[in-house]
Amino acid sequence: MKKIFVKRISLFLFILLALLCIFHFAMDQLVVKDMSVKNYWLLGKKGNHYDALVLGSSRTHGGINVCQLKDSLKRNILNMSLEGTGYPEQYMMLSLFLRENSSKVLVLNVDVYSILRGFFSHPYHEYYYLPLISDSTVYANLKAYYGYKAVLWKYIPFYKYVDFNRQIGLNRLIKMYSSKNQEAYEKYQGTLLVNGSLKNVSDQQLVKNINTFLGEKNSISDTNIVYLKKIIHLAKQHNMQVMMVMLPEYHKVYAYQPSRKKIVSLFTSIAQTTNSKFYNFENHVTAYDITKLYNYSHLNAQGATVFTADFVKFFKPYVNK
């Protein structure tokens, strides 16, 4: 009787393992086909040459209108910026992207938030990269931060899809196949323009908002500086010119951002040492016009149009070389 149970349990576990492996393999193939995730849309691009790539967080995701740049300069430009990402994730994305594509110029967003220690709760949206964890670059980057967890994600079948079943699980696939809006990024070459306007607020509310926004996350992170330099170094390795660009925010917040001056001089110093150029647009006209921003730190669609029109002057020499 016992032997029968042992055999049955062994068979059950074997079938379970087989099913987990099958699901694991199937999900790895299917999840990355979700083109509503910008990361997958970008990584799906292979064999392309671009005149310029725009890389950064939400500030450049909606603050530089790449279609406008393309139309005025007749160049092939792609906005690779990813919402809510810091330099570690941007570095990993750029590494993966440049394995299959190339570009002459990198327009790199630099700002206070990406340098501060605790602004992004995690340096990666790790779940997006888990279907690709067998890739050595992805695994090395995730292991550096997540340690043993990355090992579990890589080697235990299906574990990563259980751990993040909300983000990359079956729910995601069901949403993907039932959603109509799959190709939004292609139309706007990765730019996401946002409507809405900042309302006039008192200095008190501003301070409260900034403190909520930044809180205690106001010490400079050496890790983030390292990754910023790694991005620039990577671009240089691929013979790319680098423009470090600081986009305008609502001018009143500058006084409340801790370490701002220190960070700006840090960017200047990094630009010098890496043979790049740093463009600080903090005093651009859009920083003084609340109708051009949708919150304290992001240009809205109108603001992006106005800013991009001025940005072209600085950008043109790079792509015309």
């Binding site: 259980v162 079956l170 949403k175």
Partner: protein
């Protein structure tokens, strides 16, 4: 330590393996250490409170057995008062404080006592009642004193049921710690299956419907009609799946090691009367109140009015047990009131002879529906943050201003649809299974059906369970 955590996934197999490998005399000690570790995962220093109540009741039991006459009663009363005092301080002090403050304010008097800055030790209400039942049973001579301190401590602290029950009786559990439980593959598998079913109810159903429930009940004034009705019905299933899920995991985990804990839920939403509901819902607590409060008050062997009084008091106190808020008290009172009405019109509510879940008469279906409706109405008070919120919800259940639009918004996301779908799945299984329970129902099928069912449940848990939801078990707050 939460059952739905990686920590438990590591803890449980280690403790179970150790249990079977260690010699019999070492296992209670190992279980005690494991239970302490389990409890200290929450707030470590509160282990001392647990230790104090254990010591009090351990010695009370000995003194009661060795004493005669009035002394026995003195020790019993001292034990009850001191145990309840711990509960009163940690759970009710601030509640009574705030009420006295409100009364003092009303009469423009000064009330000097400040709010105590204390956190309720997790599971306090549960293990307090469990140790109280021990002392009371010893007093009545229905349980011999446990002289082995380790065994007694494990009885109070046994980790599967330490923080949210079932509230065990010493006659059922205490002797099991003296027995040797050999590894039995059938029993282990049975325990694991029950745990799986518990995880399904908690992680897949309870935590996903919580999304909608929390949204509505955190700001009920933004919602009307259908949205309020749906949120209330979903809460009924959230609390059932959350609590019975925990109980299933607890009973299953204990069963793996060979311990037999009492059933705590018996498909309560298939009840055809309120009294039947209370025989199927949180069975360990309702029997506790019946045996130690309702019956000592006179039970039902008294006059009609006295019986109703006993019922009302028992349920009011039961409501208060659940939480230090007037909403819980009203919830308890409402259930008491339901039972009084039912007892008054008992002829109509007499249950049919055939009690299986498979065959329902039309009258049964009506009774099921009205019972569920009444229970859902009482759940409004249980879940609402305040009496004002509860009253708003109650008085706006049939106000259908844009409520369909609100409802559509909830279920536009797949994450919120899955809860109701799996509720229907669960109810179907329970309906088909009837009183045999899902395990008995599945066990009678072919091996292909059995394995398919368990693979299906396992993959549903893996694919749809909210592992990172941060939703604690609801009854932890009691």
């Amino acid at each position: 330590m939460l059952f739905n955590s990686i920590d438990f996934l590591v803890f449980f197999p280690i403790v179970t393996v150790l249990y079977f490998l260690l010699p019999n005399r070492a296992t209670p000690f190992m279980l005690l250490i494991a239970s302490c570790f389990f409890y200290m995962f929450f707030i470590p220093k509160y282990i001392f409170i647990l230790a104090i109540t254990i010591l009090i009741d351990y010695f009370a039991g000995i003194f009661i057995e060795e004493s005669t006459g009035k002394r026995r009663k003195v020790y019993l009363v001292v034990s009850i008062i001191s145990t309840c005092l711990v509960l009163a301080i940690f759970k009710y002090a601030n509640f009574f404080n705030s009420n006295f403050l409100a009364i003092a304010d009303f009469f423009h008097l000064k009330y000097p006592v400040h709010t105590l800055n204390i956190i309720l030790p997790i599971g306090l209400s549960f293990h307090t009642f469990q140790s109280l039942s021990y002392v009371i049973e010893v007093y009545y001579g229905r349980q011999k004193t446990e002289r082995n301190f380790i065994n007694y401590s494990v009885y109070v602290m046994f980790y599967p049921q330490l923080v949210a029950g079932p509230i065990e009786r010493p006659q059922n559990l205490l002797h099991q710690f003296r027995e040797r439980h050999k590894f039995d593959i059938i029993r282990v598998l049975s325990g694991l299956k029950l745990m799986l079913w518990g995880f399904f109810k908690k992680l897949v159903i309870a935590d996903s419907v919580a999304i909608v429930v929390n949204q509505v009940y955190s700001s009920p004034y933004d919602y009307h009609g259908l949205a309020l009705i749906v949120a209330t019905i979903l809460f009924a299933f959230q609390i059932y799946c959350d609590f019975s899920g925990y109980s299933d995991i607890a009973i299953g985990a204990a069963r793996v090691m060979g311990y037999d804990l009492m059933q705590n839920f018996n498909t309560p939403y298939f009840s055809r009367s309120i009294s039947e509901f209370w025989r199927r819902w949180h069975i360990s607590l309702s029997t506790w109140f019946k045996d130690y409060l309702y019956i000592p008050l006179g039970g039902s062997r008294v006059s009609y009015w006295r019986r109703n009084y006993n019922l009302f008091i028992t349920f009011t106190i039961s409501g208060l047990w659940h939480g230090a808020n007037w909403t819980y008290v009203i919830w308890g009172m409402l259930n008491g009131f339901y039972l009084i009405i039912e007892n008054t019109f008992s002829g109509f509510f007499k249950e049919p002879v055939n009690k299986t879940g498979v065959k329902f008469h039309i009258k049964d279906k009506f009774k099921l529906l009205y019972t569920f409706t009444l229970i859902c109405i009482s759940w409004i008070f249980f879940r609402a943050a305040s009496l004002t919120d509860a009253w708003y919800i109650l008085t706006h259940l049939f106000s259908f201003n844009n409520s369909y639009g609100e409802l559509k918004l909830f279920f536009s996301d797949y994450d919120t649809i899955q809860g109701p779908l799996f509720i229907l799945f669960m109810l179907l299984i329970q309906y088909k299974a009837g009183d045999t329970g899902f395990e008995g129902y599945i066990a009678g099928r072919s091996i292909f059906i059995r394995w398919s069912f368990y693979f299906l449940i396992l993959f549903i848990v893996l694919l749809f369970g909210l592992f990172k939801s941060q939703h604690q078990f609801i009854y932890f707050q009691f």
